[in-house]
């Protein structure tokens, strides 16, 4: 298991070939496609089908970002597509502007509209977003039809220009294919970037993403705006390709077509998007007779959506993706080169966490009522109390999931009382959850990498991929799961999932680690291992604030104990003294 040479430093790690070189086959294939598009002799019909498929696929890439990566719905992609198309349409005809300027303007318009819609809605639940995007779609259609002075109304805009460089239809198609290849490349690699990882984390578990230092709202807005911008770009390309646009091309029905394409191919991947788009453009062409009955064709789309969701939730590409995941999980991750280093920051004084007069009221219920806690730097501090005493509420207020009704929380000299969860994490707070919250569609390594990526983590250098992987591997090795790093979360036992959650928090190199009932649901062997782990963490000087019911664990691991009952602090001090305190004994065992 251990590396042959211990002298190997981090920079000397075997580095894979440069990214661009490894992806050379992709670019060669793309170049061949572009060349084919430019030189092959197509008749007009084939050309139109190809043009449509190419531009639609870019719009569907947008859905794979917002729906597949970030788990947010967008039922107005045709409206954003329309923004781009009308920008190029009106711009090149009525306003006599350059095609390129119009294309960019269309993207910017769509981006702006997407960002506005996202910012007004994404703090709320997903069904709000669904309805708001449908409403937005209807409004855009209304404007396209009724604002005749601007959009030419139902007649649409014709004689739309193309750039001088690509005047011929084939040349323009080649340009669109090249754009498709470039956008496809970025969307393909987005999941492995910082933003992409944040999106996946938000999709899998918003709360855990927040306490891992991810700005959940901003991530969702980025995903939504990016999707809209891709829609705008696709629309601009579409308008140049067909030289004519009209409102019915950007209706709600088209948004559903985009959605179906995305779902059919597989929402999580651009390859799926391309497959779905290709199929749903070709199949209707083969089944043209369906179009003779109005409605029939869209009715079948609706039925498709229901059937895909029920029987093939990951789409066509999902089948291949599962096989790839299985193959990936067999690859052993490179062993960590160094043991995990914890270097908790220490700016403030002797007290790392100072809570004064903390209260949390739910209506009339005082779940936490004027609690003071002072956690000394280094060592383990336990917060205990009978069921319903306000322990977990306290922890949730500390980590920002609840807003404090009153009181003050100072972490290592920084007042974090009003900060949202991700900023507290950036300030040095780490936590685990009583009911484990991991990112379920990701591997153990990816989960811990997201922890390591915490803004303000000084131990990952520039935060490059290699440094992140190294840090995450160290953390996983520290909890004893290094050899299974590439397995999906679902293949781990409950106890191991808990360890992965701790590793995720440790990789972030926090100043203070909050553990919410880490021993809950563990068997006695696992509890012993947990105790050992806590000792090893504390030995590196990281302060731990632990909540637990397991008195053996608490009394052995913690040097200092605070006891809550009915939301108030009833005892505080050195472990043994507190556990013998008569109030504590009566709170736990009842008094005569």
């Amino acid at each position: 298991m251990s590396a042959p040479s211990d002298n190997m430093t981090m920079t000397a790690l075997p580095r894979a070939k440069p990214l661009l070189l490894r992806h050379l086959p992709y670019f060669i294939a793309a170049a061949i496609l572009v060349a084919l598009a430019a030189t092959m002799r197509f008749d007009g019909y084939i050309l139109n089908v190809l043009m449509q498929a190419t531009t639609f696929a870019i719009a569907v890439f947008g859905l794979s970002v917002v729906l597949g990566l970030c788990g947010q719905i967008n039922l107005a992609q045709a409206a954003f597509f329309g923004f781009g198309a009308y920008a190029v349409g009106i711009g090149t005809t009525d306003l006599h502007l350059s095609y390129w300027l119009c294309l960019v303007a269309g993207c910017v318009l769509a981006l702006g509209a997407g960002a506005f819609l996202g910012m007004s809605t994404l703090r709320l639940g997903g069904h709000y977003l669904a309805m708001v995007t449908i409403s937005f779609q209807q409004i855009v259609t209304l404007v396209m039809i009724n604002a005749i002075g601007l959009t030419h109304g139902p007649d649409g805009v014709s004689n739309i220009g193309r750039p001088d460089l690509f005047q011929t239809a084939q040349g323009y198609l080649a340009f669109c294919v090249a754009m498709l290849a470039i956008i496809g490349y970025f969307v393909w690699h987005l999941p492995d970037t910082r933003l992409g990882r944040a999106m996946r984390a938000v999709r899998d578990n918003e709360l855990a993403a927040g306490v891992s230092g991810i700005d959940v709202f901003r991530t969702k807005v980025y995903a939504f705006a990016l999707c809209a911008a891709l829609g705008g770009l696709a629309g601009g390309l579409f308008a140049g390709g067909f030289a004519y646009v009209s409102p019915d091309q950007f209706s709600f029905a088209e948004s559903i077509v985009f959605l179906t394409m995305s779902l059919l191919g597989g929402v999580a991947s651009p390859i799926g998007s391309a497959i779905g788009t290709g199929l749903l453009i070709l199949i209707p062409e083969w089944l043209r007779f369906l179009k003779s009955v109005p409605g029939l064709y869209l009715a079948i789309y609706g039925l498709f959506v229901i059937l895909i969701i029920r029987y093939m939730p990951d789409g066509i590409w999902g089948f291949i993706g599962v096989a790839l995941d299985r193959w990936r999980s067999r690859i052993k991750a490179p062993a960590a080169a160094a043991p995990l280093l914890l270097k908790p920051a220490s700016v403030g004084g002797d007290i790392v966490l100072e809570v004064t007069g903390l209260s949390k009221h739910f209506g009339g219920l005082k779940a936490v009522d004027g609690v003071d806690i002072a956690v000394k730097r280094g060592g383990v501090h336990a917060l205990i109390g009978p069921n319903g005493s306000g322990k977990t509420t306290t922890l949730n207020v500390l980590s920002g999931l609840y807003k404090a009704t009153s009181g003050k929380i100072v972490l290592d000299g920084t007042d974090i009382t009003t900060m949202p969860p991700h900023r507290r994490t950036a300030a040095g707070l780490g936590r685990t959850f009583q009911n484990i919250r991991l990112f379920r569609s990701m591997t153990a390594l990816e989960n811990v990498e997201i922890g390591a990526e915490r803004p303000g983590n000084t131990l990952i250098g520039q935060g490059g991929d290699a440094a992140l992987t190294e840090r995450a591997m160290e953390a996983l090795t520290f909890v004893g799961l290094g050899s299974r790093a590439n397995e999906l979360i679902s293949s781990f036992s409950y106890g191991h999932q808990r360890l992965i959650e701790i590793a995720r928090a440790l990789a972030a190199n926090p100043t203070l680690l909050l553990l919410d009932e880490p021993a809950a649901g563990l068997n006695s062997t696992e509890k012993l291992e947990l105790h050992e782990l806590l000792k090893r963490i504390a030995a590196q000087g990281l302060t731990i604030l632990i909540i637990d019911h397991d008195m053996t664990l608490v009394s052995e691991a913690a040097q200092h104990i605070t006891v809550l009952n009915f939301g108030r602090r009833i005892a505080d001090g050195e472990s043994m003294a507190v556990l013998r305190h008569p109030d504590v004994v009566s709170a736990y065992l009842g008094s005569e």
């Binding site: 997903g126 069904h127 449908i134 409403s135 869209l298 609706g302 959506v305 969701i309 939730p313």
Partner: protein, 291 residues
């Protein structure tokens, strides 16, 4: 002033339809935690059933009405078994996508069968309306308002005073606990879908003589009804009703004083304003996540 009163009456009438559909939304949301995007299509299908029975086949209005509602109950059963029930253990996103798929399927199946021409359905009464002082009270609007009031009272009685209503509420609040108490959760969910399909259908039949019976009427009504639930406070029954009435009035005045073609846009405008400034709606609790 006369015009204002007249518009107010019309607005309340239209708003009552939104309120009825919104009520269906809220019921399904509370029972299943799912927003049913096909709720508006229930109204559209019921209106077409009325056209088939009362206009095409020429059956008596009351018989057609009962048959249409029975058809809606059946549709509720099919919808639950075909769309919601198989996905009940999945997260909310697949479920809402499936209901969107169902809405597209219903609207376009009707289009394929009946063609794009809007149909006309007569009102329930022979007399078109009565003149009350300066205001002309259209009989169909009077009927809509009356039925909405009756349904709201019935709804209250049903959920608060009957055992079945209590069981439905228990199911919507905690499915596991309800099933431990011997309540058949799947039956309760089935009843909820039947009830909301009938409620949506009722709204569709009532509004059909006022609007044209068209494929788009479902999605138009659903959007307004959804906006109404947000304005009132999501998941709140009283909020859905107040929100629906408010929206009907705003829209009617907007069409009269601002712009007719953009009439359907006002709901969206109000919706976005609420989302930005008061996302919890008029009556709602603050929208918060649980840890």
């Amino acid at each position: 002033m006369d015009l204002v009163l007249q518009l107010l009456f019309t607005g309340v009438g239209i708003g009552a339809v939104y309120a009825l559909v919104a009520l269906g939304f809220v019921l399904i949301f509370r029972a299943t935690n799912v927003v049913n995007f096909a709720q508006g299509e229930f109204s559209m299908v019921a209106a077409y059933l009325m056209v088939v029975f009362a206009v095409d086949l020429g059956w008596p209005y009351w018989l057609s009405f009962l048959l249409a509602l029975a058809g809606m109950a059946l549709l509720g059963v099919i919808f639950n078994l075909g769309v919601y029930y198989p996905l009940r253990h999945r997260s909310f996103l697949p479920v809402i996508i499936a209901t969107i798929g169902a809405s597209i399927l219903m609207a376009n199946s009707v289009l394929a069968i009946y063609g794009p021409q809007p149909q006309v359905l007569q009102g329930w009464f022979e007399t078109p309306g009565i003149q009350l002082g300066p205001v002309y009270l259209d009989s169909q609007y009077l009927l809509i308002i009356a039925v909405t009031i009756v349904m709201v009272i019935f709804n209250y009685w049903f959920f608060e005073r009957t055992m079945l209503g209590k069981k439905l509420q228990a199911t919507s609040q905690d499915k596991e606990m309800a099933s431990l108490l011997g309540i058949s959760v799947s039956t309760m969910i089935m009843i909820t879908f039947i009830y909301s399909a009938v409620l949506g259908g009722l709204a569709g039949i009532l509004v059909a003589p006022v609007l044209f019976v068209s494929i788009q009427m479902g999605s138009t009504i659903a959007l307004k009804a959804f906006a109404a639930t947000i304005i009132g406070g999501f998941g709140d029954v009283a909020g859905a009703i107040i929100g629906g009435l408010a929206l009907g009035v705003i829209e009617t005045f907007g069409a009269a004083y601002v712009s007719v073609p953009y009439k359907d846009g006002f709901a969206f405008l109000v919706l976005v304003l609420f989302l930005i400034f008061r996302p919890q709606g008029i009556f709602g609790e603050r929208v918060a996540e649980k840890a």
